[in-house]
């Protein structure tokens, strides 16, 4: 009979509360160049990258749910009324976890430097998807001006990638050195993952 993973549950609960509370309470204080580091996205990506699909998806769905509750996107519906959406946070975080858990598997070795590459790549996908959606929405539904691509790259995409990479540094240390798994266990688990086909694992 397997023991209940208290350490894992407690560590993830504390991290989720901290990450979510800091994100929604102190976004203004963290703002640099008009951009806010997306701690929720970065934490989901790193959890999926270091601790696999299952952990990443669970963390992502919880953070996505909180994101939908506290700062859901608001769009103008087809009837012209404003609608506070539900579920977009869940979808974004789930996809981020799924993509991150599949990064640098197979021939590549998952290590700490590659985690920053993963964060940058997922951030880029997230921002580009958001940009394309906003272009579609603004031009098709609201018939208003479309954001400028160069402006988006210089003033939104690149600063966001930079900030998310910076925000990833403390989170990488948290996930690797403090919890949710003991470092020895992580290595053991990594071997299981390789056998079960999820790809190579963290190499320190």
């Amino acid at each position: 009979m397997s023991r209940f993973p208290f350490r894992k549950v407690i560590a993830y609960t504390v991290y989720i509360i901290l990450v979510f509370c800091i994100q929604v309470s102190y976004s203004a204080e963290m703002s640099i160049w008009g951009q806010i580091p997306d701690l929720m996205l970065v934490f989901t990506v790193l959890t999926a990258y270091f601790h696999g699909f299952k952990d990443g998806v669970i963390v992502g769905l919880i953070l996505g749910l909180l994101r939908d509750c506290f700062c859901a996107p608001c769009v103008t519906g087809l009837d012209g009324q404003l609608v506070v959406t539900g579920g977009i946070g869940l979808l974004v975080m789930f996809l981020a976890a799924s993509v991150a858990s599949s990064f640098f598997t197979g021939r590549m070795k998952r290590n700490v430097p590659f985690s920053f590459v993963t964060v940058a790549a997922v951030t880029m996908m997230y921002k580009i998807a958001g940009f394309l959606l906003s272009v579609m929405w603004l031009s098709l539904v609201q018939h208003s001006g479309v954001p400028d691509i160069a402006d988006f790259i210089v003033r939104s995409l690149l600063p966001q990638m930079g900030l998310n990479i910076i925000a990833a540094i403390p989170l990488v240390f948290l996930l690797i050195f403090i919890g949710p798994y003991k470092r020895s266990k992580t290595k053991g688990k990594a071997e299981d993952r390789i056998i079960s086909g999820e790809g190579n694992w963290v190499t320190y």
Partner: protein
């Protein structure tokens, strides 16, 4: 078959489809999706409030330690300001007496007399460009009850327009700021017979904390520094709430004159807001009460 069901990519595909359906259902008016999220919000709010309070306490303690000199200088300036304000107050008292006399004589209505104003603290801010709704700690139990198609104006401590309440649950309300792409409000230039314009959020200008002015009559001359206030048209917002000042005007396309507006508010600095709720028409309610009592008497 079992291999397919346990496949990672199959799980991802199914989950994505389910989430897309949830998002789609969320767009239907009166959808249950928002109702399902409310208990989660109710559970998470106290935790978030606690962490925010701890963070604020740490911030205050740090301020108390390091801001002593700055506070002393600020105190000196404030003392000078108090002296000036005392003088202005004395003059204003006389003007107020004169205004009350004229108000009765000319039947002038107070701009916001038909609104109840509820104070609320900002609980959470926008997470990023997509997730850009802010939350305040006033909900239906505080009197912020939204009906279908309703919205309440939100102002800051200087009575400048912040945005509108778009959703309220029991203890919290969600506010759409005027920089959001979906925000639109009818405005006018703050002068006698000032031109009417529409103020709306713009994806390109949002990052700079600016808004777009559209629907400008090509014959109207807008100038940099013109003050824009709400026009009261449409009935959602009361007339005369300051919105911001004109930064630049683009007359290059005579059929589509636009301008850039610098709002008075700075969303990142907001701590408290005020929600303006129209007071129910007293005369109508009095009539209804009289009618009800009359009907009661007949019975």
């Amino acid at each position: 078959m079992r291999k397919l069901l346990t496949s990672k990519w199959f799980i991802i595909l199914v989950t994505v489809l389910i989430l897309i359906v949830i998002i789609g259902v969320g767009f239907i008016p009166g959808s249950p999706v928002r109702q399902v999220l409310k208990p989660v919000s109710g559970l998470a709010s106290p935790v978030q409030g606690f962490v925010k309070n701890v963070g604020d306490m740490i911030g205050d303690a740090r301020s108390a330690l390091f801001d002593g000199m700055a506070i002393r200088e600020e105190n000196e300036k404030l003392k000078e300001q108090i002296a000036q304000l005392q003088y202005a107050l004395t003059q204003s008292e006389e003007a107020a007496i004169r205004y009350e006399e004229l108000k009765e004589a000319l039947h002038i209505k107070d701009t916001f007399s038909s609104y109840d104003v509820y104070g609320a603290a900002i609980l959470s801010r926008d997470a990023d460009e997509w997730f850009s709704v802010i939350r305040a700690d006033a909900g239906s139990r505080d009197g912020v009850k939204l009906g279908s198609g309703q919205a309440y104006a939100v102002v800051d401590v200087d009575m400048s327009l912040v945005g509108r309440v778009i959703e309220a649950d029991e203890s919290n309300s969600k506010i759409l700021t005027l920089m959001h792409e979906s925000f639109r409000v009818s405005c006018k230039v703050n002068e006698v017979n000032g031109a009417y314009v529409t103020c709306c959020g713009d994806a390109n200008l949002k990052k700079d904390g600016l808004c777009r002015l559209t629907d400008i009559d090509p014959d109207v001359v807008l100038e940099e520094g013109d003050v824009i206030v709400t026009s009261g048209e449409g009935g959602l917002f009361p007339e005369g709430i300051p919105v911001g000042t004109v930064v630049s005007v683009d007359y290059s396309d005579p059929l589509n004159v636009t301008a850039t507006l610098k709002p008075y508010i700075d969303v990142s600095q907001l701590k408290d807001v005020f929600i303006m709720i129209p007071v129910a028409d007293d005369s109508a309610s009095t009539d209804a009460t009289e009618q009800t009592s009359a009907e009661g008497g007949v019975q």
